[in-house]
C-alpha cells in the first residue's frame, strides 16, 4: 500500500458534537494529556480501518482561527505549523447543520489554509434550514461530506470509510497559503472586517430554504423556568441537593469497600512476605498509598457523572448565566460556581471541573480557593472535636450548639474562599479579566455514552497523573512516621514492662503503648515535639503537632493518629474510648485539659483553613502544570490556618 495518511485532527465550533464524533471513532482507545506549555486537554485516540492505523486528535472547540484563549491558540498554532508533530494529514471539520452559517466561518478559514478537509455534518436527524449540498466548493476540492448522528452512531462507519478513501485534492501540505489569516492575528480591527466578508460570502452561497424561515430561537418554556428569579435558583439548589445526597449516601459504600480491600491486601502481604523493611514498605507504605488514591475514585466518578449530565444537557450554561452577577464582585465568574460547590463534597473533582473556565485568571483563582470549601474529609475531624469540646446546649431553647458550630465551620470556609478570591483578584489584576461573550447551547437530553466516557476519562487522569505524586508523597510521610533514631526508640519501648501474664487484653494494651511511643519517637514525632513552641500560642501541644503533620496526607488521618498517640488501638469504629482519653488529657505546659473549648475550636478553625490533603496538592500541580501554584496554595492556607487558630484561641481562652 502506498504512503497511507494517518493523522487526523477533529476541528469545529464548541457544542457541535465534536467530542461525540471523536468518541464514536476511538471508543475507549483514548489518551488525555496536556498540550505542551498550557493546561489545555490534548485528547487523542486511534482506530483501525482495513488494516490501517489512524491517530485522531480532538482539538478544542473554536469559532475562528483568530485566537483569544489558550484553547484557541492551541488550534491556531497547530494549523499554522506544518512541521508540528501533530500536524494533520486529514482534518475532520465537524459542523452542526442547524447552525450552518456560524459553523461555516471557521470552515472557510480552514478552506483558505488549503487543509485537506472532510466535512462532518452533525445533528443529521434535524432539518437543515440552509441549502448546502449543491455548492461547487465541495466538488472543486473533492471535499467529502458525511452526515452523522451522535446519538445513534449512524454515519460513523461511513465516516471511517470516507477517511480511509480520502484523496487529497490540494496537497499543499508544506505551504501555508492564506497569508491574510496569519498576518491578521494581532489586528482585531481587520479581523472584524475579514469575518464580516466571510459571513457575507456564506449568506450568499448558502441561502436559507424558504420553508424554514424562522431564524431567532424563541425563549423556550423550559428556559423561562430555569432562569426564573425564584425558580431558577430553587432548581439549582435542588439539583445540588440531589447530587450531594447521592455522593454522601452512595459514595461511602464503595469507599469503605475500597478501604477494606486495601487493608486486607496489606495484611495479606505482611503475612506471606518475610519480615523486613521491604515488606513494611510494601504493606504499610505503598499499598495504603495506592489505596489512598483509589479511595477518591467513587467521589470523582459520582460527581463527574452528574456534572457531565449538566454540561451535556446545556443546563450548566443556565447556571453560569444566573450565578455570574452574584460571584463577579469576588473575582470569580459564573463558571466558578459549580467547581466551588463541588468542592463541598471533595476539592479534587471541584478543581478538575474548573477546566471549563476558559479565562486563565478566573480559573486560577477558582483552583486556589476551592480547597477552602469544607469538604467531606473534614467531617470526621469536626465531629470528633465538636463531641470533645462543645457542650450540649440549646441556644434560645431550640438551636443545638453543636449543630451551630458545625454550620459555622462550613460558613467560615465559604467566607474565606470568597475573601481570598478578592485578594487573589487584586494580586493577579495584571492578567486579562474574563468575559461572558459565549454561546448558550440549546437544551437537549444527555447522551449517556458521552457521560460515561467523561467519567472514565476524569478518573483515569486522576489515578494516573495525580496518583503518582500522591503515592510518592504518602510513602515519604509513612517513612517519616515509621522510622526514627533507633536508640531513642529502643529506650522508649524498653521503658514498658512486657506483661507477665499473657492474656489477650494485656498484650493489646502493651502493643498500643508501644505504638504510641514509637510514633512519638519517629521523625514526625520528633518534628511534632520541635514545633510545640511554635504552636503553643494556639493552645496545641506536641500530640496535636504530630497529628497535624501526619494528617497532611489527608485530614481524616487526624483521627487515626490521635488514636495511636492515645494508645487506644486501631478499633476506632467507636470513638468513645478515644474521646474519653482525649478529654482527660492534661496539657503539661498550661495544666489545662489539652482539649478545652478554646484549643478545640482553634484546632477546628485550623482544619477549616489548612490544605492538609496530598491529593489536592497533586491535582493542583496537574491542573496548573506547575509546582509554584500548589506551593503558594499550601503556604497561604497554612498562614490563614495559623492566624485563624491563634485568633480563635485568644478570643475563647
Amino acid at each position: 500500500m502506498s504512503n497511507r495518511r494517518c493523522k487526523i485532527a477533529i476541528i469545529g465550533n464548541p457544542n457541535t458534537g465534536k467530542s461525540t464524533v471523536f468518541n464514536w471513532l476511538t471508543g475507549l482507545n483514548q489518551k488525555v494529556g496536556n498540550f505542551p506549555g498550557v493546561t489545555v486537554d490534548r485528547k487523542s485516540g486511534n482506530f483501525n480501518f482495513d488494516g490501517v492505523e489512524y491517530e485522531v486528535i480532538d482539538l478544542p472547540g473554536t469559532y475562528s482561527i483568530f485566537s483569544r484563549s489558550d484553547e484557541e491558540k492551541v488550534v491556531r498554532d497547530l494549523l499554522f505549523n506544518t512541521t508540528d508533530k501533530d500536524f494533520p494529514d486529514i482534518v475532520l471539520y465537524v459542523a452542526d447543520q442547524t447552525q450552518w452559517e456560524r459553523n461555516m466561518l471557521l470552515f472557510t478559514q480552514l478552506y483558505d489554509l488549503k487543509l485537506p478537509l472532510i466535512l462532518v455534518r452533525t445533528m443529521a436527524d434535524q432539518p437543515c434550514p440552509w441549502k448546502v449540498s449543491n455548492h461547487p466548493i465541495w466538488k472543486d476540492r473533492l471535499i467529502p461530506m458525511v452526515a452523522v448522528n451522535g446519538r445513534s452512531g449512524d454515519g460513523m462507519d461511513a465516516l471511517k470509510k470516507a477517511i480511509h478513501d480520502f484523496q487529497d485534492a490540494v496537497s499543499l501540505r508544506n505551504e501555508i497559503v492564506a497569508g491574510d489569516l496569519v498576518h491578521l492575528q494581532d489586528d482585531p480591527k481587520n479581523q472584524v472586517e475579514n469575518t464580516k466578508q466571510r459571513y457575507a460570502w456564506i449568506k450568499e452561497n448558502f441561502p436559507r430554504k424558504n420553508s424554514l424561515n424562522s431564524s431567532t430561537p424563541a425563549k423556550s418554556k423550559l428556559d423561562q423556568v430555569l432562569i426564573h428569579p425564584i425558580w431558577g435558583y430553587a432548581i439549582f439548589a435542588f439539583v445540588l441537593f440531589i447530587i450531594f445526597q447521592f455522593i454522601f449516601r452512595f459514595a461511602s459504600w464503595p469507599m469503605d469497600a475500597i478501604d477494606g480491600f486495601f487493608i486486607a491486601i496489606s495484611q495479606e502481604a505482611k503475612e506471606i512476605l518475610p519480615e523486613g523493611p521491604f515488606t513494611n514498605l510494601l504493606s504499610e507504605g505503598l499499598i495504603p498509598g495506592i489505596g489512598g488514591v483509589v479511595t477518591f475514585v467513587p467521589q470523582i466518578a459520582f460527581l463527574f457523572f452528574f456534572l457531565s449530565i449538566l454540561e451535556e444537557t446545556g443546563y450548566m450554561s443556565r447556571v453560569v448565566f444566573i450565578m455570574d452577577k452574584l460571584v463577579r464582585p469576588f473575582g470569580l465568574n459564573g463558571k466558578s460556581v459549580v467547581p466551588l460547590m463541588s468542592s463541598v463534597a471533595c476539592a479534587i473533582p471541584g478543581i478538575m471541573s474548573a477546566r471549563t473556565i476558559s479565562n486563565g485568571r478566573d480559573r486560577l483563582i477558582t483552583i486556589l480557593v476551592a480547597p477552602l470549601m469544607s469538604c467531606s474529609a473534614r467531617i470526621p475531624v469536626y465531629t470528633l472535636l465538636i463531641a470533645l469540646v462543645v457542650p450540649d446546649k440549646l441556644i434560645g431553647g431550640w438551636l443545638d450548639l453543636k449543630g451551630l458550630v458545625l454550620f459555622a465551620m462550613y460558613a467560615l470556609g465559604l467566607i474565606a474562599a470568597l475573601f481570598m478570591s478578592v485578594v487573589f483578584k487584586w494580586f493577579l489584576k495584571s492578567r486579562p479579566a474574563g468575559f461572558m461573550v459565549m454561546e448558550i447551547p440549546s437544551l437537549k437530553p444527555p447522551m449517556f455514552r458521552q457521560v460515561l466516557l467523561t467519567v472514565w476519562e476524569k478518573v483515569r487522569v486522576f489515578v494516573w497523573d495525580a496518583g503518582k505524586v500522591i503515592v510518592a508523597l504518602s510513602v515519604i510521610l509513612w517513612a517519616l512516621a515509621s522510622y526514627g533514631p533507633n536508640e531513642k526508640r529502643e529506650q522508649a519501648v524498653a521503658a514498658f514492662q512486657h506483661p507477665e501474664a499473657m492474656n489477650e487484653q494485656a498484650q493489646k494494651d502493651y502493643d498500643a503503648k508501644v505504638n504510641a511511643v514509637l510514633l512519638e519517637n519517629s521523625y514526625i514525632g520528633i518534628l511534632g515535639h520541635a514545633i510545640e513552641p511554635f504552636i503553643a500560642p494556639l493552645g496545641f501541644d506536641w500530640k496535636i503537632g504530630i497529628s497535624i503533620i501526619t494528617s497532611f496526607a489527608a485530614r481524616e488521618v487526624f483521627v487515626g493518629s490521635m488514636a495511636t498517640i492515645y494508645s487506644v488501638g486501631d478499633d476506632f469504629d467507636d470513638n468513645t474510648h478515644l474521646l474519653d482519653k482525649m478529654r482527660r488529657d492534661i496539657n503539661q505546659s498550661t495544666m489545662q485539659p489539652t482539649f478545652n473549648l478554646a484549643s478545640g475550636m482553634a484546632l477546628m478553625v485550623f482544619y477549616v483553613f489548612a490544605m492538609q490533603c496530598l491529593a489536592t496538592f497533586a491535582i493542583v500541580q496537574r491542573e496548573t502544570a506547575s509546582w509554584k501554584w500548589p506551593m503558594i496554595q499550601v503556604v497561604y492556607m497554612a498562614v490563614l490556618a495559623y492566624m485563624g487558630a491563634w485568633l480563635t484561641y485568644l478570643l475563647l481562652i
Binding site: F66, R68, P188, T195, K325, P441
Partner: protein, 75 residues
C-alpha cells in the same frame, strides 16, 4: 432614529447593530455574528438584570451588561 446601546434594549425587542466598539472583544463578538448590519434580539436577562441573552443568526449568546454596552444599535 436615535441610537441606543444593546444593553438598553428590553427583553423581547430586537434591533440592528450599527457599530461595535473596536478592540479585543469586537473580534470575538464578530466570530459569533455580532457585527454591524446584523439583527439582534434580546431573549432574556438573568434575574439580577445581568448578563443578558441575545440571539443573532440563530445562535443564543450571553453578554454581560458592560459587554452589551460596546454595541450600538438602532431599533
Amino acid at each position: 432614529m436615535a441610537q441606543k446601546k444593546l444593553s438598553e434594549i428590553a427583553v423581547g425587542e430586537s434591533a440592528r447593530i450599527m457599530e461595535v466598539d473596536s478592540g479585543f472583544l469586537a473580534a470575538k463578538m464578530a466570530d459569533l455574528g455580532l457585527f454591524q448590519g446584523n439583527d439582534v434580539a434580546v431573549i432574556f436577562k438573568a434575574p439580577l438584570g445581568d448578563p443578558m441573552a441575545v440571539s443573532v443568526g440563530g445562535t443564543m449568546i450571553s453578554l454581560r451588561m458592560d459587554e452589551a454596552q460596546l454595541i450600538s444599535v438602532e431599533r
